[in-house]
């Protein structure tokens, strides 16, 4: 069965192209992205350097010089590669869905680790306990890794927790759990960041010397579990 969801392909400069399924966060669109990603990984397009899945789009980077040697005469590399990608999309089996790995991520929601938790609770007219309860009550989907090595974008939080980004980025520790809009995310490394920080996990989300490099991958299902400060220290 072919891809029935509308999409369009556009160039991302002269060495990459993006297929876009719509500018929105949806498990269905992300499933198609992941399906296409796995197919391209198993059987890459000629000259493909890599494919990068995002929320609802996938980008293919290619070696322009290599591709120029293989394209039909009179065609640009982009037209040729775009045509090949269309064919892949036509042949995409949407029915068979990607299975999700379920992961538990312990988080200490103490204001010591989540300096923005009191502010977020106040802003939303809730107690800090209520915020923690809402944040831990549902499993989230890992939509993509990006921004930093291993930074994990998850969605979507309860509408009551939605909070826009800070005006000024501040410095954030590795393992911090943040909220931006209805996204929740895990800072894999210490970095400046604009998300509101409500807690921290003792798990090492990214490790350059470990296989796998990242603890979580797109398509995974993540459940946060609240732990105490003592439990955090003993982890």
């Amino acid at each position: 069965m072919s891809c029935t969801i509308p999409y369009h392909i556009f160039p991302l400069g002269d060495s990459a192209m993006t297929v876009d399924f719509g500018n929105r966060i949806s498990p269905d669109l992300n499933n198609i992205v992941m399906k296409l990603y796995q197919e391209l990984k198993a059987s890459p397009l000629p000259g493909m350097k890599e494919a990068i899945p995002a929320y609802s789009s996938l980008t293919v980077h290619y070696d322009l010089l290599y591709c120029s040697h293989h394209r039909p005469v009179g065609k640009t590399v982009y037209d040729w590669m775009g045509g090949l990608l269309h064919l892949r999309l036509k042949a995409l089996d949407q029915e068979e869905m990607v299975s999700a790995t379920e992961m538990i991520v312990p988080v200490c929601y103490d204001p010591f680790f989540g300096p923005d938790l009191p502010l977020l609770a106040k802003e939303k007219n809730m107690s800090m306990e209520e915020v923690v309860h809402l944040h831990t009550s549902v499993p989230y989907r890992v939509y993509l890794l990006g921004f930093l090595p291993g930074f994990t974008y998850l969605g979507e939080t309860d509408e009551k927790l939605a909070m826009s980004r800070k005006m000024q980025p501040s410095s954030v520790s590795a393992g911090s759990i943040g909220i931006a809009g209805r996204q929740t995310g895990i800072y894999s490394l210490s970095s400046p960041g604009g998300w509101h920080i409500i807690g921290r996990t003792p798990l090492k989300i990214f490790d350059a010397t470990r296989d796998p490099l990242t603890l979580l991958k797109p398509g995974d299902s993540v459940k946060f579990v609240s732990i105490s400060k003592d439990e955090f220290k003993d982890y």
Partner: protein
């Protein structure tokens, strides 16, 4: 037998042509900012173009050679000197042991590349030698070079007899690179997905005004200063892919150009993309210098890059012949 760093510079890192295949985990490619010059440096000393090189920013490190070596410096001109005597860029130089390589003044450009025949002995991280500063991995211990660092040189050739006791010797060939003679300010771009969201006036403005590179410009991205640009609509975008050379419009109306250490994804409107053939000259623009943009069509952009690569291949063929001839002449 090593290359020793006797004085550290502001930011000197090991780079190759980038680490591809890991952006789905948020690991950006890194790699040399000016890939044309990085390849050229390798080609001049007979290396494979993708070998690791040292990318230098000014003020750059000083190096001590514990063994004879064949080196080449390309890209920016930092007025290199061996034991106090000037040496040119874009020309292979034989260096005797116990020599000191220093960079004296910033004459032109922003990044210089040092390649050494036989390459540098170090481990790859995820199939690349490029230094990933954020992940603290790749290159030399995942960081910039510091005083007393030692890099092992992999050359299997003994260059000593070719020097006939001299401190250094210039090999009699030079690469002529048209790309360097052009001033770096005229940059061609392709339209970005969100170009149409700019107001008509801002579209004109982007192509007519001269932007200035601000001091907040580094390997991650170039921040430009100009009259702020306006969008027709303020539609929110979710995170999606970006590329080396992508022009992003920030909420304050200013442009950022994503460079070698850019994030893998972004949520700002992508109004354009610098063509691959111009990444190299863009990488040599310094803060305070002007940048102007003009549109190019996709086919021309592809052809220009392909021509640039063919030009490199021609230089490579010529260098290999000359180098073989030089090596055999002694026997």
């Amino acid at each position: 037998m090593n290359l020793r760093i006797i004085k550290s510079g502001v930011l000197d890192t090991i780079q190759d042509l980038g680490r591809y295949g890991w952006q789905h985990l948020g690991i950006n490619p890194a790699g040399a900012m000016d890939r044309f010059s990085a390849q050229l440096a390798n080609i001049l000393v007979g290396n494979d173009p993708g070998q690791p090189v040292i990318e230098l920013h000014f003020p750059a490190a000083s190096f001590f050679f514990e063994r004879p070596a064949l080196i080449a410096i390309t890209g920016a001109d930092f007025c290199a000197a061996l034991n106090g005597e000037d040496i040119p860029v874009n020309q292979p130089v034989l260096v005797n042991k116990y020599s000191v390589l220093q960079f004296q003044r910033l004459n032109k450009g922003a990044r210089a590349y040092l390649a050494i025949e036989g390459g540098l002995e170090m481990n790859q991280w995820l199939n690349s030698y490029s230094t990933h500063l954020k992940a603290a991995a790749g290159g030399y211990s995942g960081r910039s070079l510091q005083t007393d660092d030692e890099i092992r040189l992999s050359s299997s050739l003994n260059w000593g007899p070719y020097l006939h006791g001299k401190e250094f010797c210039l090999l009699p060939w030079q690469a002529s690179t048209d790309w360097e003679k052009q001033p770096g300010v005229e940059i061609n771009i392709l339209l970005g997905k969100e170009w149409a969201r700019l107001t008509e006036a801002s579209q004109k403005q982007l192509l007519q005004q001269t932007f200035t590179l601000t001091p907040q410009s580094d390997r991650m991205g170039y921040r430009l200063q100009g009259e702020p640009l306006q969008l027709e609509s303020k539609e929110e975008m979710i995170s999606t892919a970006v590329n080396f050379g992508t022009l992003q419009l920030l909420p304050n109306g200013q442009l950022t150009i994503l460079m070698a250490d850019h994030q893998t994804t972004g949520g700002y409107p992508r109004v354009g993309h610098v063509i691959s053939a111009h990444h190299s000259k863009l990488a040599q623009v310094r803060p305070g210098e002007p940048v102007r943009f003009s549109l190019m069509d996709h086919q021309q952009a592809e052809e220009l890059f392909i021509q640039q690569q063919k030009h490199l291949q021609q230089i490579r063929n010529a260098c290999q012949l000359k180098l073989e001839h030089f090596i055999h002449a002694l026997h």
